[in-house]
């Protein structure tokens, strides 16, 4: 099947409108079923015992007392999850993270689990499990962990990516480097140089729905899993591999998902639930508590970043350099590497060098969080850029415009850019009325840019046309925020029928071919491409059927506005056949009409955003309030503009929370001190203003409708935008995120004294 993904201009009828989403009614009436809303007959309650220690050797686990408690049906430890990973190091880490094998590596690391007839019995059983720990020295801070003599988290780790293989193990798993030109020479040409060190604290994705699943393993080796996930096909593969079963024997059904943002791209408790069910011979429901969500799932990296940028008097950047250290939790990752790739991606640089270090610490395994690794790097770079603009004496927007990357620029991570949107977002910001609005006392305005890669990936979609002419669309990418509406619009557009006649569902893993997960902003980009392809295949069949009905050659049948039209003089009197008429006749023209598509949607293209924000700082308390906020971002083509706005607003709100409040706080004992929404404070309604959005549409050449991913980039600029606003409001340069009231107050006081 030759599907041509290239963009061509067209006049849209359905795409670009704002209908009500198909899953909306269920969600406002409380009928939609999320992870914890599903039950099976005879199901047990699963619970996980977690390490209270940041780092400890597990010498012995005695489960005998727990097993004897009436109502307990299964108790498992790592021994019940034998290693089937066959040398796949990344999968082994996932296995070890699901259930600690030899050492507990962070406060909250799972060490055992039970399944019992009810929650109370399960909780009691956990208390009866005796774990003999040998507590080891721990390290939770990223800079401390890099120091010589820091407690070693894994003594088999020798830093990859160094000139010479190190002789001693360390907590640094990898060094990676990007860049081009000669930064040394570049700094030699600079009239001004900014050099600063920054830190950002660890944050959590903070989805409101805790991880939840129901697992049912059968005696014949098959199993069912109901789960909230961003990728049920990926969960199926991971669970099947970890449990040593055939993927096709495990059917995974995705529930509605109550937020993910990257945190539900990773299995945590699902393999444990399956193992419990296998041992107990009954279905097991396992729902994490909020405390467990914070202690054991999620978080992003904590970072420490040094930045140096130099510019000539005329405002040209001559050299830029960054060293980035990202915590990975106790397992190897590539978080700093991505940070190093994204740091300077917005700019046209002759000389640039970035170096990333992946650092192991006794904290939960780092997971992706919306544009993972980019916000921290952007915080450091965009703060330094702002400072440099001031030194040069240029307006920060003009300074960025002067140095912005454009088509043909060699990106800081290597490749040369095609058509990109950084320039247009900056121009839009320059001309935005927000930039000219007056400011009051203690108020300041800041702006910053952000970059993210978007993904495509493997996608499979089925489009079935019913006898009544209505269309069911089965997709395999999870709907995290309205994609069923967008995809229905796409199918309606391509077929030329009304949106109301299309119903999109997310199919389970046994009903559709493999799909990558909804991550990297790929959901609408990839699945819309597959939907267009499936619709085009269906249209070919529709034309064939119409040709049969008319008894003419299919070459003489075209498809226009939802109708088959006969072409050519000799068919002048044939009129049109609607999709509905062709569908009604399908039983006698060859059976059901469907279009399928299996493809790899590549060429997603990169994404840029520029944000503006106004803040007010209270000089007495150090509290910062966001007064006004504007997001400008390129969407390629906004399929359902309301949901595109929603992505921009949601990303910005998460970035604002990260900038001002959210952080993991560890005690000296290595335990997480604030594992709850009371002390880990995400923005509430009264913390935020309305968030204005401006959608730019610069078509993506690699998508038939020009669509780009839109989900992630908006979390990237807020950290620096707010820091820059604070600097303009109060004259203090904040280098430590979050800019919580005590930190801001300390900076204000230092400035007053200084």
């Amino acid at each position: 099947m030759n599907f041509d993904p290239r963009y061509s201009t067209r006049n849209f009828t359905a795409v670009g409108t704002r209908p009500i989403r198909p899953d909306g009614i269920d969600k406002v009436t409380g009928r939609a079923r999320y992870g914890a809303d599903f039950n099976m007959a005879g199901q047990l309650v699963g619970r996980i015992l977690r390490s209270p220690h940041a780092h400890a050797k597990i010498k012995k686990i005695d489960t005998s007392k727990a097993e004897k408690l009436p109502g307990v049906k299964a108790v498992i430890t790592a021994a019940d999850l034998p290693d089937h990973t066959n040398g796949d190091a990344a999968m082994y880490d996932i296995l070890d993270n699901c259930m600690a094998r030899k050492k507990a590596l962070y406060d909250g690391h799972a060490v055992a689990a039970v399944a019992a007839i009810d929650a109370r019995t399960a909780r009691q059983a956990l208390k009866l499990i005796e774990v003999d720990y040998e507590v080891l020295a721990h390290v939770t801070d990223v800079d401390e962990a890099m120091k010589h003599g820091a407690p070693l988290i894994n003594d088999a780790v020798f830093t990859e990516g160094l000139e010479e293989k190190p002789v001693k193990p360390s907590n640094v798993t990898k060094r990676s480097q990007f860049g081009h030109g000669d930064v040394h020479a570049g700094f030699g040409h600079a009239d001004f140089v900014v050099e600063r060190s920054f830190r950002t604290e660890q944050t959590h994705q903070g989805y409101i729905e805790p991880h939840a699943c129901v697992a049912s393993a059968n005696a014949d080796g098959t199993a069912d899993l109901w789960v909230c996930t961003q990728g049920h096909f990926v969960y199926r593969q991971h669970c099947a591999q970890l449990l040593g079963m055939d993927a096709s024997k495990l059917r995974v059904t995705s529930s509605e998902i109550g937020g993910g943002f990257g945190g539900k791209t990773h299995v945590w408790a699902e393999p444990v639930a399956l193992a419990l069910s296998r041992k107990a011979g009954r279905p097991v429901k396992l729902v994490m508590t909020r405390d467990e969500v914070f202690r054991a799932s999620g978080p992003t990296s904590a970072t420490s970043i040094d930045v140096r940028i130099g510019a000539r008097k005329d405002g040209t950047i001559t050299a830029a350099e960054a060293t980035l250290r990202y915590s990975c939790g106790p397992y190897a990752g590539s978080w700093a590497e991505v940070g190093a790739m994204t740091s300077f991606a917005c700019y046209r640089l002759e000389n640039v060098k970035t170096v990333g270090y992946e650092v192991l610490v006794n904290r939960p395994k780092t997971a992706a969080y919306r544009a993972p690794s980019a916000p921290m790097a952007a915080f450091a770079v965009e703060s330094a850029i702002d400072e440099l603009a001031k030194m040069v004496g240029m307006d920060p927007v003009d300074f960025r415009i002067k140095n912005a990357a454009q088509e043909g620029t060699r990106s800081s991570y290597g490749p040369v850019y095609g058509p990109i949107g950084i320039g247009p977002t900056l121009e839009a910001v320059k001309n935005h009325p927000h930039m000219k609005a007056p400011l009051g006392k203690n108020q300041g305005r800041g702006m910053a840019c952000g970059f993210w890669f978007n993904f495509g990936g493997q996608t499979c979609t089925d489009l079935n046309i019913g006898m009544d002419g209505s269309v069911s669309l089965a997709v395999g990418t999870i709907d995290v925020g309205g994609s069923r509406a967008s995809l229905s619009l796409i199918a309606a557009e391509e077929l030329g029928i009304a949106y109301e006649h299309v119903k999109a569902v997310v199919a389970d893993t046994s009903s559709l071919g493999y799909n990558d997960m909804t991550d990297g902003s790929r959901g609408t980009f990839s699945t819309s491409m597959a939907t267009i392809s499936a619709a085009r295949n269906a249209i070919r069949t529709l034309r064939e059927r119409a040709a049969q009905m008319w008894d003419i050659s299919v070459d003489d049948v075209a498809w226009e506005h939802g109708h088959a039209v006969a072409r050519g003089e000799k068919h002048g009197n044939l009129g049109k056949l609607s999709l509905k008429e062709i569908a009604a006749a399908s039983g006698t023209t060859g059976g059901p009409i469907a279009g399928h598509s299996e493809l790899v949607a590549d060429g997603a293209g990169v994404s840029f955003a520029t944000h503006i924000c106004d803040i007010e700082v209270d000089p007495e308390t150090g509290a910062t309030r966001v007064l006004r906020y504007t997001v400008v971002q390129d969407a390629g083509k906004a399929v359902h503009p309301t949901y595109v706005e929603g992505q921009y607003q949601g990303g910005a709100a998460q970035g604002i929370g990260w900038a001002l409040n959210e952080e993991y706080i560890y005690g000296k004992d290595g335990r997480l001190q604030n594992a709850g929404f009371l002390d880990y404070r995400i923005p509430v309604c009264s913390d935020l203003p309305m968030i204005d959005t401006q959608i730019l549409e610069i078509p993506n050449p690699n998508h038939p409708y020009g669509v780009r991913g839109v989900g992630e980039t908006s979390i990237v600029p807020p950290l620096a935008a707010i820091a820059n606003a604070l600097s303009n409001a109060a004259g203090v340069r904040m280098t430590h995120i979050p800019m919580s009231p005590p930190r801001v107050l300390a900076a204000l006081e230092a400035a007053r004294e200084g």
Binding site: E160, G262, T265, V416, D519, S521, I715
Partner: protein, 81 residues
């Protein structure tokens, strides 16, 4: 013959070379020859490598043709949110 730039941690895995000339018509052939010539890259290929062809990143389309004068970068595969 296409010129391929190995980026990030990949250069070291190939024994310290950053630029390679390889006779390959598509991504599949490129990966096969890379693994033959630099066995250190095999685990990276298994884990997933993204290929940037003239600035557009391909992760899974191994049948993608490599134009003769194209600029080709191999990058580590990323995780998204």
């Amino acid at each position: 013959m296409v010129e391929v730039t190995l980026w990030g941690s990949l250069g070291r895995a190939a024994g310290g070379t950053n630029k390679l000339d390889i006779e390959a018509k598509d991504i599949r052939e490129l990966f096969r020859k890379l693994a033959e010539q630099h066995p250190g890259l095999q685990p990276w290929i298994d884990r997933g490598i993204a290929v940037s062809i003239d600035g557009t990143i391909y992760r899974d389309t191994w049948s993608k043709q490599l134009p003769q004068d194209a600029e080709i970068f191999l990058l580590p595969r990323l995780a998204g949110g």
